[in-house]
Amino acid sequence: MNHDLPKNLESTRNLLAGSLQLHSSEQAPALPGDLLNDLASRFSATPAAAAPLQQHSWLARIQSFIARPAFGMAAVALVVLGVSVPSLMDSAPAGGFRGKVSGTAESPEIRIVLLSPPTGFQSSLVAAGDFESSMISSTTTGDGLTGRRILVDFSTATITALNASDEKIHTAPLPKDAEEISAAIAAAVSRL
């Protein structure tokens, strides 16, 4: 740092200095080469310097996949969306990209619309990783929406699946346990 500061700013500097909360007794493994290369190409930066590419065995990749957060729920969603096998068999590294770039599960035709969700629910659902973030949106009313969609209505506590003709294919109560909502949405998706 090498920077003299007024005394009243030292605590702020110290706060920042410890804010990454690194543990000096441990050292992080090398940055995965495939991650570096993928990000370099995504952000169109100068091609990354040759970093040792970590080769993952098929078994290691499967183990890594299983170890991911919310694997159980994700597995349901992946099966439902019918693209789990390609996402595992391609050369993408563990985790993969979410969104359009990803080879992971996505069904762009189906939208998950949260009607008047509690604050932070959408981000929690996205963070759970069971659905692509691009599938999920929030609004206050389901009026005017078209296409195949899942309406998760928090005011009526219902989950409704509608096809492209606006026919109700499936209706279920919204689980009271927030942990079960993701699975209930996946079940609704499976009906479309």
Binding site: H23, P69, A94, F97
Partner: protein
């Protein structure tokens, strides 16, 4: 985006995945997998690489959340609430079953027998905090009882009890520490001892119920999670410009360069309007003033 920036972000995320909060320790293999995925996920939110500070803050946030979710899921799956608990954490004996603590009967409320074990875990930690604040004996017991009630009291705005917030049991400890801090302020206010002192604000009720009211961190040390970079960035993001964030991030957070290094970097100085031809002493003076101004803004934001 430079390789060094990503390397620093990777290191930070890996360490955060290993220990997303005090008391949790995840295996190195799982930490590697989570950090990899978190960084990839965050990158999808940007068409261009943002500032290193912003990208790192977002990646850390995603990493910590994903790790908490993973720990909660595995504990549930294996019915082992001690799974991933850091053996070096000696603050209390064993974790409780968070799902049972969060189970709410429509008629009786939070009445699972698991609650019988919670006071024994929280009391020593709370009494130590209250003693430090000068609240002892029966007064401390009264405040402690209030804090337990506070854990299950539904907030007026959301109708949600604080006990429902944690994803893993270890989060209850800092959550309760915050409540203890606020309740101790209420106690002092009732005693009239803190009249007209700054930074005592409203009661916990007002602070947590009113979404327009900024949360006051009268004692950041009570919760180490308050001091993570992602939390600081989230709280103060708009207080600094992108260039100011870059400055304090490089100098103080990652400490990847000294002020001397930056003075010698004409391209970096140009971001702050310092022309290439100016003397090194002028560059030092200008950068020093910018650093102090940025830190002052952060200081004010963190105590307001």
């Amino acid at each position: 985006m430079q390789q060094e920036q990503l390397q620093r972000c990777w290191n930070a995320c890996w360490h955060r995945a290993r220990r997303p909060l005090e008391g949790i320790l995840v295996s190195e293999e799982q930490a590697t997998s989570i950090a990899d995925r978190a960084i990839r996920n965050v990158s999808l939110d940007y068409e261009e690489f943002p500032t290193e500070a912003e990208f790192t803050a977002r990646a850390l946030e995603e990493t910590a959340e994903a790790t908490r979710q993973l720990v909660a899921l595995e504990r549930r799956t294996h019915a082992d609430h001690q799974l991933h608990h850091d053996p070096a954490d000696r603050r209390y004996d064993r974790n409780l079953n968070l799902d049972r603590l969060q189970r709410r009967d429509p008629d009786k409320g939070f009445c699972d027998s698991e609650w019988n074990h919670l006071p024994a875990i929280l009391r020593p930690l709370a009494v130590a905090t209250l003693t430090r604040k000068g609240i002892k004996g029966p007064d401390a017991e009264d405040v402690f009882s209030d804090t337990l009630v506070e854990l299950v009291r539904e907030r007026e705005g959301s109708g949600r009890s604080p006990i429902l917030d944690p994803t893993v049991f270890e989060e209850i400890i800092p959550l309760h520490a915050r409540i203890v801090g606020f309740r101790s302020i209420d106690w002092y206010r009732r005693r009239g001892a803190l009249k007209n002192q700054p930074n005592t604000g409203d009661s916990l009720n007002a602070l947590t119920d009113n979404p327009e009211h900024g949360m006051q961190f009268e004692d950041r040390s009570a919760d180490p999670q308050n001091n993570t970079f992602e939390r600081i960035y989230k709280e103060c993001q708009e207080a600094l410009t992108a260039a100011e964030w870059e400055l304090v991030f490089i100098l103080f957070v990652t400490q990847s360069a000294t002020i001397q290094d930056l003075i010698g970097d004409a391209a970096f100085c140009a971001k702050f309007g310092i022309k290439a031809g100016v003397s090194l002493s002028t560059r030092r003076r200008v950068l020093s003033e910018l650093v102090e101004a940025a830190l002052e803004k952060l200081r004010k934001n963190l105590i307001n």
